[in-house]
Subunit: 101 residues, 2 copies
């Protein structure tokens, strides 16, 4: 499987982050990753077809907001909390509550 482009922390662009978060579904995904931690795609799909869900996860990935790893047959998505915080301190706090962990 070809791997999606994942920008390094210092390559994350504010415009891209804002664009990614301007969609209600994607904003909700980020919030849930923030509160609930790593999730599979289907755990967060809200009865959308998978191609649509996959598209939104890709936008989040390419903007630098999430990282995806394989775990068996599923793909687990995690918020790149530290990378985002380092690049744009305070941004995540505006968006998503801190996870209690």
């Amino acid at each position: 499987m070809r791997h999606a482009r994942l920008p390094a922390s210092e390559e994350i662009a504010l415009e891209d982050v804002f664009h990614a978060l301007s969609d209600p579904f994607r904003l909700e995904v980020v919030r849930r990753l923030a509160t609930e931690g790593e999730q599979s795609c289907q755990a967060l799909e809200g009865d959308r077809p998978k191609s649509s869900v996959s598209h939104h996860f890709r936008v989040l990935r390419e903007a630098g907001l999430i990282r995806t790893r394989n775990e068996g047959v599923t793909r687990m998505n995690a918020l790149r909390r530290d990378d985002i915080e380092q690049r744009f301190p305070g941004l995540l706090a505006c968006v998503a509550p801190r996870r209690d962990d």
Copy 2:
């Protein structure tokens, strides 16, 4: 002149703010309003036609990011710094340097 819709502080929606800031021209406008204070539209237009500039200012206004007042024949645009800070603390700090004033 009919006045554009200006959301109250508590009506400002994060999605709208993110959408407004996802355009490079609008992000730059917000940064300049933040550093240089109130500006006319034409002071910030970068050789774009005025209808295009006007469109972008409208998006910023409707998202709740700026406020516009008449001053003679020009319209002065100001960042709604306090309203945004109250609604989404820390957001502006990610975007725009604080104005020294």
